[in-house]
Amino acid sequence: MATVQENPLTEGLERAPVHPTNLIIFGATGDLAQRKLLPAVYNLAHEGALPERFNLIGIARTDQPDDEYRDFAREAIKKYSRRAPDETVLSSLLERMRYVGASFDDPAAYEGLSTIADELDEEAGMAFNRVFYLATAPSFFDTIAGALGERGLDKRERAEVRLVVEKPFGHDLASAKELNRALLSVFDERQIFRIDHYLGKETVQNMLVLRFGNGIFEPLWNRSYIDNVQITAAEDIGIGTRAEYYDRSGALRDIVQNHLLQLLTILSMEPPVSFSADEVRNEKVKVLHAIKPPTIEEVPERVVRAQYGPGVAEGKDVTGYLEEEGVAPGSTTETYVALRLKMDNWRWAGVPIYLRAGKRLSRRVTEIAVTLKPVPHLAFQESGSLGVRPNQLILNVQPNEGVSLSLVAKIPGAKMRVRPVNMEFAYGTSFMSQSPEAYERLILDTMRGDATLFARDDEVEAAWGIVDPILEAWENASGPLPQYTAGSPGPSEADGILLDHAEWRPL
């Protein structure tokens, strides 16, 4: 039998208890709160996954009473929740919402927040944990953190205080370091949760299980057997209404620096001693440190950027990037980037790592393709074969979550003719369950204090260290970017960075 220190009642429960929490969202009327955070909080409430005592305090510039904010939240949840809301649960959740209308540099915001949070604690007769979620423009991150520190809201007796920071975390290495410094001058690293929502996806977490829960892969997972790795995040949509953000960011900052490098770290890290947050993140950081950033001189031969031009998407004519509303005339922001990296460590030395991300491509797909080396001698040279291709292990992140292994098989008949076939595993066929939204998992983790799926300060800086020389090289380059037709697989220039016999996976 367990001792009283262990709470024997939690044994066997799928959901461990979470300490009573006040979730404070800065930017509570913004797009992220509306589309992701409020629906995620509702779904956690619906499933009974929120702490037994829970309140949400929204802060934004709009001056409005609590009830108007509740109306806003109700509409957002109804519109964007993955399930139709249960009216009784929704009403119960809305009752727990409070609102403070003030700008983030206004001391009144923090006075209002402090007053409400203290009232809620007093009413419950206990100290709630506090999770400050910064769903604001990045320019406010240090302002808000500083203001929280000045008012002593960064720490609490008998309760935990945590800070959740959305991407983008900086726009280059220097700004990321400066932001880390600003946040760490107020909060301890263990209090800071830097969100990369890709890490909340079930399939991404499953990569850890696939690699470290199956003995079949580990013996092959090295330079002796792997020819190259390709990670692709292709979108078929354009920039939509995000021109203001995207034109300042581009594909390298928006996707590669965070999502794709995170996928790469999980794919290539050494087995951690345990799955505790720091053990996992220690291994991920080692991967990032092993990647040798391209020098400015190497950038042209290892990195390709381009913009989508006019073309056809879903059977309709679409404009090119430069004609999109809100894009600066003559903008040199890339909507496509492809790059080749290399890792200097025993496991991966000499294995090219290809990353590519882009908008307005022919298909929406996020996948990791691990291509094995070809067999040393091919005995099947009969004519009529479709050809023997090296085995590929494809980890599909979206839209068809699953794993596929390409093999070579004999075509029925008298001759020894062969063709590639696929061994498919689709998560949907084996679990028949709807994966929770990444934000549901991540918000719950912040309330639990589990930072395994969040980026640490050194991780973020190491990732920026890899892309910084590329950004610098691009700043010094002149002339328009190569164009690719909207709805196509991307620019032909991307083939130029591939080594030897490598090919891009068809989109």
Binding site: L9, P17, G48, E123, A124, N400, T429, S430, F431, M432
Partner: protein, 351 residues
């Protein structure tokens, strides 16, 4: 939604198996984006007159449903097997997305088939998948026949009006099967909330001070109350005594070290859904926690030893009976190490 159907009268398991394979081949040839689900086999044994009701229940379970269902409808006097098979794919119409195919086999059989149900069903279940057997209308002989073939027995111990007999049956099955009990799953939110209440380190000592437990339940859900008491007793190391039935209520005592814990089960006639209606825990130093069903979750009330009180709602949507059944199917793929000890403690209270 695409559907493929095959049917035959006076058939054999081998013919049904052959027909299923053919249907799958045809469906695969029709579109490579159709992928057969491979999660769990469910063998459901039902009275023929309630077949439609059981199918409705299975269709409402939502996202957690068996990938291959073998529905055995038992008709008095029947001596032959009639069967049909169908594949259905619930696709979105988007050709770039995979549509998952479910398979269902309906067999009409007689009572005499039940004692050799394993031989009939064996060719029809997919090897390497967990096989669940569920007989919501009794048919214990079918369960006995399936015990070597099935990995999991799904049941609702509240179905038997005699709680002692229900718990005894579960204990018997647990000798060589894993049991998923819907009556236990109805109590999950209650167990989670009680565990959460005592989770803050400063409250854990109160677990050793519990002096009284009162459970309110729907009159036909006495077993749910007993399982809750069994859970507390097994987790907290109590030695339970016998429960005494008196006017529909049950009361008894458990020994928790030097402390005696008073146990009470009170039926509440006007509860809509089966299961628990409320629970009150009191400690020797005067703390009291109660949880009761309410709109939007569970209404919680707490009185501290100093007399201060607070109340709040623990949010959570009702899963409904369809959701409970779906959860039962999902739990067939998991293992809850606390159910067995809880049942044994509950058994000790009714013996």
């Amino acid at each position: 939604m695409t559907v493929e159907v095959w049917a035959a009268e006076n058939t054999t398991p081998a013919d049904i198996d052959s027909a299923l394979r053919k249907l799958l081949e045809e469906q695969h040839a029709a579109g490579e984006t159709l992928a057969p689900a491979r999660v769990v086999n469910m063998v459901a044994v039902v009275d023929a007159s309630w077949r439609g009701e059981v199918l409705n229940r299975l269709e409402r379970v939502g996202r957690y449903h068996p990938s291959r269902t073998v529905l055995c409808a038992v008709e008095e006097g029947r001596t032959t097997l009639d069967a049909s098979a169908r594949l259905s794919a619930d696709g979105t119409g988007d050709p770039s997305l995979i549509s998952v195919v479910e398979e269902r086999v309906d067999i009409r059989m007689g009572p005499s088939h039940l004692t050799r149900l394993d031989a009939i069903v064996d060719p029809l279940i997919l090897p390497d998948l967990t096989t669940v057997v569920w007989a919501p209308h009794g048919h214990h002989e079918a369960i006995e026949a399936m015990r070597k073939l099935a990995d999991v027995v799904l049941l609702d111990s509240s179905d038997d009006p005699n709680p002692g007999r229900a718990i005894g049956w579960v204990c018997h099955l647990q000798e060589n099967c894993y049991v998923v009990d819907l009556a236990w799953l109805r109590g999950t939110p209650w167990r989670e909330r009680i565990a959460a209440t005592f989770d803050p380190p400063e409250r854990r000592a109160a677990l050793r001070q519990i002096s009284r437990v009162t459970i309110r339940h729907r009159p036909d859900s006495t077993v749910s109350g007993m399982l809750m008491l069994g859970w507390l007793a097994s987790r907290l190391g109590w030695t339970p005594g016998s429960l005494v039935a008196e006017g529909g209520r049950h009361h008894g005592r458990a020994r928790a070290g030097k402390l005696e814990v008073s146990l009470q089960l009170d039926p509440v006639p006007d509860l809509g859904a089966p299961g628990l209606g409320g629970i009150t825990l009191e400690t020797a130093d005067g703390m009291m926690l109660s949880l009761d069903r309410s709109e939007g979750g569970l209404a919680a009330k707490r009185r501290m030893p100093d007399g201060s009180t607070s109340s709040w709602v623990v949010m959570g949507a009702s899963r409904g009976e369809a959701g409970i059944l779906g959860e039962g199917i999902r739990q067939a793929l998991l293992r809850d190490p606390t159910y067995g000890p809880a049942v044994r403690c509950a058994g000790a209270m009714v013996s």
